[in-house]
Symmetry: C2
């Protein structure tokens, strides 16, 4: 389906200045394959790098039609997630234009698009509805436990604390070291970035562990280190995804991700985040149950420093290190090389 | 949809003597509403009570047509689960006959039947595909924590250890005591028995906690004690359902269910069941995370004695009580009154 050589245009109307563009912006930050254009009527013609801080030199066009006229594009990736998951009519018209122009569509919205366009697709043209349960799933059997590849799963003190970014940074650092390493995406952005993975939130409970297992087994065929994007949190009252991730990936290591200064669930203030030492113990106990590789440990902590100064973040990381006895850093800001070293050293512990 | 006054015929071809009839037999054992007939070509005309040990006086007919001719039936409940979930052709033909005769259908198979029959349904006639995700689900918000009704969730050392039966027995014992009490089914048999609930294995991960929450909130409108049927096990490598059950029901108490003598996962012998004290601690830690009612405790242990003698079971229960400091009994065999008393006493602890 989506290949690294595909030239993407990312549909981001209102998402560069507004806050509905997280998926597209993450794709722009982390995709290693080609990206040809961004589409945003609000910022058309402006400097993408200056606007976003993302180190990628890219033109911003005001519409799909303009982008198609100006440059060569293979795939339109929908990078905005309007509230309710429904595309406003004018943007749907733009997707129509893209399909008519022969572009494939990568769609991370809840609303599937394949049915709408199926009849008019040319050979080689596809519609990828990412948030659909894959076919051919089976019940999980903990089979990832027998892999020789290491399996490192990120877990968090809340949702949206930076698990995906930390996972991507660790995979990057491993590849920079020349290791055979792969990232398994488990949400729409992670899957868009890597071109593969499992849309865990769209999978039925019965098959959730099996879906993760299958994705991890596939990834492990080619590599020695599999970095699995965490989802949800054991501390969130609506979250289910962490358990099938633990079961399906049978992790050899966990990396805990925490946002600097966060004391409670961002949507439910009455759900307090306990001391990190307790959080670590909770994840380790659950990972040990139903694993036969002993007790996988939290090997490191990735701190999401947000908008704080480098000094503040470095101090906070030091303090967390002292509290927990584990290495801690902001991997997006300071790089993941140090945490990676710890994880590699913990390999046989 | 399914009401207590509906007269059911339970389709059980081969399921009374064979082992594909678990759903139907459980329905026959625990449904409090009317059941008019059993359909099984293998045992037609024989004594139902003698064959099954279930205290219900019922005719067994050889076919749907015979049952319809002989007695008044409102609903055909499919009580067999053939391997692969696909009904053999002759039995599908019998379901056709039932629909033509005006019967409603309660279908717990993975294969939906509504589409097949929708066009020919008369008013009042319905097809209930139990294993479909309900409409209108939302993300869970831990709202059950604010209920005044007590919420007691069964958890297990494995799948298929008797969580549903233990939950039903506890609800029965509470009702026998005159308490306002309800059972929330979370699997096909439990839902068939109670006429409501949430088919958790068919719900997408994103909505799993929310689906449980919604079912528990609805049940709690009428009662003071909500007994939630457990699913899966934290000790099973393929299981995901326990986490949304803990999150959605925000339990005030847990009841641990264990099968006498079982030392490891029945499908994965390499997954050992740890000492029950460790299992209890695991469930309590996870229940405490993301709950704000303090730490819900395992209040009692329900032992599934299987085919062992009463004496063996009673001795084993005593030993488990000594090990764990908790009351333990086989509630199906000896009744649930004692465990119920403990749970009621633990109410404010």
């Amino acid at each position: 389906m989506l290949q690294p050589e595909h030239r993407l245009a990312v549909l981001l109307h209102g998402g560069i200045l507004g806050d509905s563009g997280k998926t597209g912006l993450t794709l722009l930050r982390y995709r290693q394959g080609a990206i040809a254009a961004v589409i945003d009527h609000e910022t058309a013609g402006q400097d993408f790098q200056q606007l976003t801080g993302i180190a990628r030199s890219l033109p911003i066009y005001g519409s799909v039609a303009e982008a198609i006229a100006a440059t060569e594009i293979d795939v339109l990736a929908i990078g905005i997630a309007p509230s309710g998951g429904k595309l406003p009519e004018p943007w749907l018209a733009e997707i129509d234009q893209a399909v008519q122009a022969g572009l494939s569509i990568a769609n991370g919205l809840h609303t599937p698009l394949l049915l709408r366009y199926q009849a008019q697709l040319q050979p080689q043209q596809w519609i990828w509805d990412i948030r659909q349960e894959p076919a051919g799933l089976a019940i999980g059997g903990g089979r990832a436990r027998s892999l020789t590849a290491q399996r490192i799963l990120t877990v968090g003190t809340d949702m949206s604390v930076g698990k995906m970014s930390a996972t991507l940074e660790l995979d990057r650092a491993a590849q920079a070291k020349g290791l055979r390493s792969a990232f398994v995406g488990t949400g729409q952005a992670g899957i868009l970035i890597s071109g593969q993975g499992v849309p865990l939130d769209a999978v039925r409970v019965d098959f959730a562990s099996g879906a993760v297992e299958q994705a991890v087994l596939t990834a492990a065929e080619q590599v020695d280190y599999v970095w699995i994007e965490g989802q949800g949190s054991l501390l969130h009252p609506g979250s289910t995804a962490t358990l099938p991730l633990l079961r399906g990936s049978q992790p050899t290591h966990l990396v805990l991700v925490h946002r600097l200064g966060q004391t409670h669930n961002r949507h439910f203030p009455e759900f307090i985040i306990p001391p990190l030492t307790e959080v670590i113990q909770l994840y380790e106990s659950l990972a040990a149950a139903s694993g036969i590789f002993g007790r996988p440990k939290v090997a490191a902590i990735a701190l999401n420093g947000g908008q704080a100064s480098d000094e503040t973040v470095a101090d906070a990381a030091d303090q967390i290190s002292q509290e927990t006895g584990l290495p801690c850093t902001d991997v997006v800001r300071f790089g993941a090389a140090n945490l990676l070293t710890t994880i590699l050293e913990a390999r046989d512990s």
